[in-house]
Symmetry: C2
Subunit: 513 residues, 2 copies
């Protein structure tokens, strides 16, 4: 049997990290910018982000949030107010100290010493403190609550070791900030937004995720509770794909967010915050990519169907193009996943085969090629990106009639969306061990021969403080971290594998990005 | 005859600048953030920006551009390459010099002296240089041209005197950057994007604009040609609402953007750039606002129709709400201006009259109130924001049947869109003098008693260099500036009012923001 000749020079099994970089290059998603730790998000990568934004923005608005925009620069003093928050964030941030450049003696430009800022400004690593300032102005009475805000913005955390999409100094994200009258309403909202993220990840990104609470040591600086969705990458590592925080009243206290309650007394508000970022693109790559490049789930594909006429530079081309234009116009009119199908007729110069493989690497869900013979027979030649290879190790072309192709395109795209999700879910479930009952078994599991061991779900007694720290250190020795305590777990029934005490819940342990 | 009791405490005629600030507050558009020169864009203001983005983004994509995202921070050395560009921009920019904070002796936080950057980074004031770097990597041959990119981003120019939306240190914008094989293609594209801006401003923002070329002294730093759209505000001043630049090959030379032409030789690309910003919101306020607050053109109104049930806190409320929900659902299904009508049923607590005036100040195009009597008679009570007052100095309520209201809503919104445009156009044309033939007449015109003298269109000989500088200085003495040389002017036929030589074209002179 012949070997498949894959479209990438590196396979996942060869070197997963290098393969990841290769997909980013081959699918034309992003590249290094020359500015330390910052990337250029190229049109195909940014197009995927725009799709994510559209779909998630709708969900955020449907849950009653308004978008707004807050300043990029935050006064240093804001960070000095909430003690735990400072400890967590104060370290690596970009600091603006001057507001003017002047010519230097050597002919270049330097910051003007005369234009030093009295108070340095920090490029936002996150915006709790500056939203808090506004909330303290905007909230007077219980009638103003809940206040539900969101912004789409760039943020910056100075990172020493960066990796495109996964950890970059500047990244794009959405950050929601809400204020509530009491714990119950704020916690309920924290979980509601966690559920919004779960549904968005699973239904639109085709990323199966585990929603749950992070243990104490993994909380957002200053939060009382941090919840996350965790996705398994194809190398078995976990990726935290979104977080939702219940912040209690400590941020409200720092920013003085008070309201008059129904009894006429002043109370502190309870706040939440939650965010997802361009990191999700990294998650999509490492979940759906294969040895031929990226596979983009149809719901977030900037182009869902590409039509490639097999032009020959002769008289026949005009008829071929006309046939393809009619096909495009017919497909345009179809809806899939509750939106009009996004189709592109690719007439760029270039030979058909390289163009096909370019689209394969980009991961467009459906490629339709049309040659002279298709035209004669009223057919098309169709390739599903998620089922690229036939048993003969050749591309698995299908040959429906043009009419069938149009009629079936909607079902086909929905089928691909489901297939990508099902594939990822099956892989994850296959890689989660739920029968680990001792720390020795856990150690053995992660030291096993299996290159990508996956995750384990264990029972624990939810230790806190120093006891937890000791466990975290022990896991660190194995390069492991706690992921989260799943929302929908089977109740605990055994002993804590770390302390031996009766377990109170289950928690995931994994290597992670 | 009784006096109208307007919804704002300050009228345009009292103090236009104060009135402007008052509209921003009363319509809940934005506020000072506490960070120098930076504003918080509140939900209603940001909602208008989101609508602008959607509509303009479609036009930018329809003209073949891809969106992408480039780093916020630009190395200082990038600004040292293009000499004229540096001169124009190098002065007031936010400079990042450190990447870490540490605790100070006094307990606060300070930039860590150990974490000083080797090369300072500048927060982008505009991104020509960093797009240029990428273009030099992405462009190899004539086949890669034209390359048409756009990004939506925040930018920062340190401003000493700021004014919300019009001049803020940080602002939001869209910046397009393209590279072409020759002058012709690049100039054609510069003008094409100018036309995109004109159509967007006139058709969607209902802002009549003059499209034309800026004189030499008003060019973007480093550009060969700068074109603009100019709108007249209600105080007769001009607002530059968008610009499109033909950059020639100087940016290509600085960034080394070269391509192999069809003959196999290396050539420099010709580049363009063009942008509009949140400044447009200031333009919408000063064009469409009135003494009752903002009036938002329906095409960019986040909510086009608001339904206010006159709740009484009694048994009748349930039926009233049901009636209003049915009305909302029926209006939702209508299309206006080629999109589904955006309707909101406002059930927030509060008395009907203050709620109505809140929406009047925000400028929602149509307010529908529903009381018990409307319910009984199958009617609604409707208020057009653009025709708020009747001859009796009372709000001009209309009382169509519910069915007529639904059937006519689409036409009504389109009518309001047109009416706002027509009103602004008539005001502008009335305030442009085209019969000024000498500099003395020009001086007299702007020294006249008329509080808001408007613009003059004069004929000139297009002086350059020092001769132009002298004219510019002379105008400056009258607080006047050249706006642009209109694209569609009547040919010149007389003498230049500045030099006395034969005129070659017409140019607008005005006070400006
Ligand atoms: Zn088949
Ligand atoms: Zn009437």
């Amino acid at each position: 049997m012949s070997e498949i000749r894959h479209a990438l020079p590196i396979r996942r099994d060869d070197d997963f990290a290098q393969w990841y970089q290769e997909v980013i290059t081959a699918a034309d998603l992003a590249e290094e910018s020359g500015v330390r730790g910052c990337m250029v998000i190229k049109p195909w990568g940014y197009g995927i982000w725009e799709r994510m934004q559209q779909l998630l923005d709708r969900r955020i608005k449907d849950t009653g949030h308004d978008n707004c925009y807050f300043p990029l620069l935050i006064p240093l003093s804001n960070f000095e107010r909430e003690a735990e928050h400072v400890d967590g964030f104060a370290k690596e941030m970009a600091v603006v100290t001057h507001h003017r450049l002047i010519a230097s003696d050597k002919g270049g430009l330097v910051p003007d010493p005369e234009a030093r800022l009295e108070e340095p400004l920090v490029i936002r690593p996150t915006s709790e403190t500056i939203f808090g300032d506004a909330m303290s102005r905007w909230i007077q009475s219980w009638r103003d609550l809940p206040l539900k805000l969101n912004q789409w913005a760039n943020v910056m955390r100075w990172e020493m070791r960066t990796r495109m999409f996964l950890r970059t100094s500047e990244f794009l994200w959405q950050e929601g900030h809400t204020a509530h009258a009491d714990t119950e309403s704020a916690r309920e909202h924290t979980l509601r937004m966690l559920e919004v993220y779960r549904a968005f990840a699973e239904e639109q990104l085709a990323l199966p995720v585990i929603a749950g609470e992070k243990p104490e040591n993994e909380r957002f600086p200053g939060a009382l509770e941090t919840w996350s969705i965790e996705a398994m990458m194809q190398d078995g590592k976990a990726l935290q794909a979104g977080t939702s925080h219940y912040l209690g009243t400590s941020f409200a206290e720092a920013a003085n967010i008070r309201f008059q309650n129904k009894e006429g007394q002043q109370e502190l508000a309870h706040t939440t915050s939650w965010g997802v970022s361009t990191r999700l693109i990294g998650g999509v790559i490492m979940t759906h990519g294969d040895d031929d490049g990226l596979r983009v789930p149809p719901a977030i594909a900037p182009v869902q169907v590409v039509i490639l006429p097999m032009l020959r530079g002769n008289d026949g081309d005009a008829a071929l193009i006309e046939y393809c234009e009619e096909l495009r116009d017919a497909i345009c009119k179809q809806d899939a996943l509750r939106e009009p199908v996004r189709v592109r007729l690719d007439l760029k110069p270039g030979k058909p085969a390289p163009k096909r493989w370019g689209w394969v690497r980009k991961g467009v869900p459906v490629i339709i090629e049309v040659g002279g013979r298709d035209l004669e027979q009223g057919k098309v030649t169709l390739l599903r990106r998620d089922q690229l290879w036939g048993e003969d190790a050749k591309p698995a072309f299908h040959g429906p009639s043009r009419l069938d192709c149009v009629a079936e395109i909607s079902g086909l795209l929905e089928d691909i969306q489901d297939a990508l999700y099902d594939e990822a879910l099956a892989r994850r479930e296959n890689a989660i061990a739920r029968d680990i009952n001792t720390f020795e078994e856990l150690t053995a599991f992660f030291r096993s021969e299996a290159r990508y061991p996956g995750w384990v779900e264990v029972q624990w007694a939810r230790p806190t403080g120093e006891e937890l720290d000791a466990v975290v250190e022990k896991l660190k020795g194995l390069k492991l971290t706690f992921r989260n305590v799943p929302v929908n777990a089977v109740p605990a029934e055994g002993a804590c594998i770390f302390t031996g005490r009766p377990a109170v819940e289950r928690i995931y342990v994994a290597r992670a990005y």
